[in-house]
């Protein structure tokens, strides 16, 4: 199943390559990875989506923690976290189909970024499944170009772990094994 990890790292050169290198050499597969700034200029934040079972997910968390620049790993899978993915898509649309494409865009709350004689470029932000559905419906008009950013995630409400306290964080538990890191 897809696991989503939010990884807080020190904002230092080379940290991204350390994380990516870890996934490669442990043969964990990355489905998507985003990295960006946070409210704290010393901290960068990654959202990593990977296909893993529960046990692999725990090993991934433990391995990421071995990287010296990693501050915190939060497995938000199944936590009802907010997951968003931004997509830019250029669809073939001449005079005859332009209206239909614009209608779809409105229903899915996609923004129109550019209209040309034979194409429309749309921006859409949403959960991956919603974006997937939107793209499916656009497909018959001809997807000329498409790019997705990958998922960014955030827990709802006040549930997010805080970096201020340097307490031990409990890794995902299951019935058979639990341990703290």
């Amino acid at each position: 199943m897809m696991h989503t990890f939010v990884v807080y790292v020190e904002n230092k050169p080379g940290v991204l390559s350390r994380v990516v290198s870890l996934f490669r050499r442990r043969t964990f597969n990355i489905d998507s990875l985003t990295v960006g700034r946070t409210e704290n200029p010393e901290v960068s934040r990654m959202t990593i989506v990977t296909d893993a079972d529960t046990d692999q997910a725990r090993r991934i968390v433990a391995n990421i923690y071995k990287l010296v620049n990693v501050l915190l790993v939060d497995d938000v899978t199944g936590q009802g976290a907010l997951l968003r993915d931004l997509t830019l898509v250029k669809v073939g649309a001449g005079q005859e189909t332009r209206g239909q494409v614009l209608q779809l865009a409105e229903v899915f709350r996609a923004h129109v970024l550019d209209i040309a004689a034979d194409s429309i470029t749309l921006e859409m932000t949403g959960e991956e499944t919603k974006v997937d559905r939107f793209l499916e419906l656009l497909a018959p008009y001809g997807l000329m170009e498409m790019v997705r950013t990958g998922v960014v995630a955030m827990r709802r409400g006040a549930k997010s772990p805080t970096l201020a306290t340097k307490t031990m964080h409990t890794v995902t538990e299951d019935e058979s094994v639990s341990h703290s890191v």
Binding site: V9, E10, P13, G14, S17, R18, S21, R25, D55, R58, R59, A62, N63, Y65, K66, L67, V68, N69, V70, L71, L72, L163, K166, M168, V171, S176, V177, S178, H179, S180, V181
Partner: protein
């Protein structure tokens, strides 16, 4: 300069490097100079640190590794950029796999040239990313002291490992305010001190109390944690037999009644069988390497498993366990020893005695003398002769390493230094040099095959140059013996590329001014070892052993742990292989 170090002092980055290392307690470094590290070498004359010039940078890393393993202190190696740095890769990977604390310092081209494919430029932080615990690229003099202090701390704490610091030439030449105290590690994300939840103790203790056929699996983590005494106390109090990993040997005296000896691919057959019949495995500072488990599908199928290790990433990596206690082994065992009541397992111990079966008959030590000199005889005699002294045996990789593990009975921790995880041929000679430098009072015996010796034998010059009393025992069978053994068993005796054309090692030793001996018969083994011990300087003994002897027992790769190829029992089986 003030010894208290509370005042800031202006100095070059190169000087800050040596001062930081000095203040971190480093007395010796192993290195090889070159263009990009020259500013550091130029400043060396102002430092109290002893520099040992090696003959190849790989040697420097193995020496630092041997130094670290002999003492538990961080070993330090120095090299220049480019080829100097890439030559360190094998030694770094070796230290990584065996959790050995070393710090490697490399010069790098000037920061303005980075990324330009300048002469002798290599992205060594990129190259070593997957084989270091952490690494640093330092481009300013002011970053050197903090990097050194962090590196020393990271290398030694938690699960130890190699750390590399790549320092640009301009960072070495630049000037900085040296303030050792202010350079103390400030690492927000690094958490080497983990401890298990209290409930995990309860669950582990419940399994231990309920077990009828428990076994302790003792690994390298014991000496890393300094838990030798606690392991012995625990084993004695609970009356649980102990099987050792290769790197665990010596952490419980071999003569201890509960010490069964080595498990795994070339472990004792009855020890492997004991593990397969166990109902509880207690893994102490070991990582269920494929060489100790055999095929995982039918590994210890009846056993519950309790894993104590400081690295959470090891939990459930190879073997799914029932309880995991992540943290420092010594601290955890102190708690367990306080809470566990004395236990006994008389039936299990008696049963294990029966599992030994015809082991003694199959032992090559008990076979009638046929005039051949066997490696196992050499090592057993070496043990008999050196056992009462403070001896450290440093092995290479291959058949001789396994015979050493089987026939040299280690009574003390850190008395065996060997490349386990990476299996690095060429490790023994430089690692032995490192061990001798670290422990000058100990007798160091380098036990090495004729193949591995030739990989790093350039370091003979280092031995002579530093006047180190290192004893070298070449187990010379004229083959890459372990590879030949695999060809014998699994490749239809097609001995492709395994016979070796060797130089006369004794003459080679003489060329370096090293005293040498050649031994062809068993009767000569002990007198020659005695002569080697009596000689003041370094000694090389060329033991010309049986060419096609085989390490038994053997669990073939992919086979179950109890599925072993055994040495033929001469009383019931005809040795038709001969």
């Amino acid at each position: 300069m003030t010894m208290g170090g509370k005042e800031k002092t202006t100095m070059t980055g190169a000087m800050a490097l040596w001062k930081s290392l000095e203040r971190e307690g480093v007395r010796t470094v192993f290195g090889y100079p070159g263009g990009a590290i020259l500013p550091a070498y130029d400043a060396l004359k102002h430092s109290s640190i002893r520099h040992i010039l090696v003959r190849h940078e790989q040697g420097a890393t193995h020496m630092a590794d041997g130094y670290a393993r002999a003492t538990g202190q961080v070993g330090v190696a120095v090299a220049t950029s480019g080829p100097g740095a890439t030559n360190m890769v094998t030694g770094i990977a070796t230290a990584m796999m065996d959790s050995s604390p070393i710090v490697c310092i490399t010069g790098q081209v000037g920061s303005k040239l980075l990324g330009s494919d300048a002469f002798q430029e290599t992205d060594i932080t990129g190259v070593t990313l997957p084989i270091t615990k952490h690494n640093y690229l330092v481009t300013h003099a002011s970053e050197i002291a903090p990097a050194v202090r962090e590196a020393m701390y990271v290398a030694k704490s938690g699960r130890p490992g190699p750390v590399l610091i790549d320092i640009t030439k301009d960072a070495q030449q630049g000037s900085c305010e040296f303030d050792f105290e202010a350079a103390a590690p400030k690492m927000r994300g690094y958490r080497p001190d983990l401890s298990p939840a209290p409930s995990e103790y309860d669950r582990a203790l419940a399994l231990i109390r309920a077990a009828k056929r428990p076994v302790i699996l003792a690994g390298h983590g014991i000496s890393v944690s300094g838990a030798e005494k606690e392991v012995q106390t625990f084993a004695e109090k609970t009356c649980i037999p102990v099987a050792m990993t290769l790197l665990g040997l010596g952490h419980l005296p071999a003569s201890h009644v509960l010490n069964m000896g080595m498990m795994g691919m070339h472990g004792e057959a009855w020890v492997n069988n004991t593990i397969q019949e166990a109902d509880l495995l207690l893994a102490f500072g070991m990582r269920f390497d494929d060489r100790v488990t055999g095929n995982l599908k039918n590994y210890a199928p009846h056993a519950k498993k309790v894993h104590i290790d400081i690295d959470p990433a090891e939990i459930n990596k190879n073997v799914k366990v029932d309880v995991a206690l992540v943290g420092d082994l010594r601290k955890i065992l102190l708690e367990m020893n306080a809470r566990i009541e004395p236990l006994t397992h008389p039936e299990w111990i008696e049963h294990i005695g029966q599992l030994k079966g015809d082991t003694a008959v199959r032992d090559i030590q008990n076979l009638p003398d046929n005039g051949h000199l066997y490696a196992a005889h050499v090592i057993n005699d070496l043990w008999h002769q050196t056992r009462d002294r403070d001896s450290i045996v440093v092995t290479d990789v291959g058949q001789h390493q396994m015979w050493e593990a089987q026939y040299y009975k280690h009574e003390r921790p850190r008395s065996l230094i060997t490349s386990g995880g990476l299996g690095t041929m060429g490790f023994a000679l430089p690692a032995g040099i490192g061990a001798k430098v670290a422990r000058p009072d100990a007798d160091v015996w380098v036990v090495v095959g004729d193949g591995g010796f030739q990989m790093t034998m350039a370091e003979l010059a280092t031995i002579v140059q530093e006047n180190l009393k290192v004893n070298i025992a070449i187990i010379n069978n004229g083959y890459l013996g372990m590879v030949r053994q695999w060809q014998e068993f699994f490749y239809d005796r097609n001995y492709e590329a395994t016979p070796l054309l060797n130089p006369e090692f004794s003459k080679l030793a003489e060329a370096y001014g090293i005293r040498s001996f050649v031994v062809n018969r068993r009767a000569e083994v002990i007198p020659t070892v005695q002569a080697a011990e009596a000689h003041e300087g370094p000694v090389l003994i060329d033991f010309k052993v049986d060419q096609e002897d085989t390490v038994y027992p053997m669990v073939a790769a992919g086979s179950a742990l109890h599925d072993m190829i055994r040495r033929p029992n001469p009383l019931v089986e005809t040795a038709e292989d001969e």
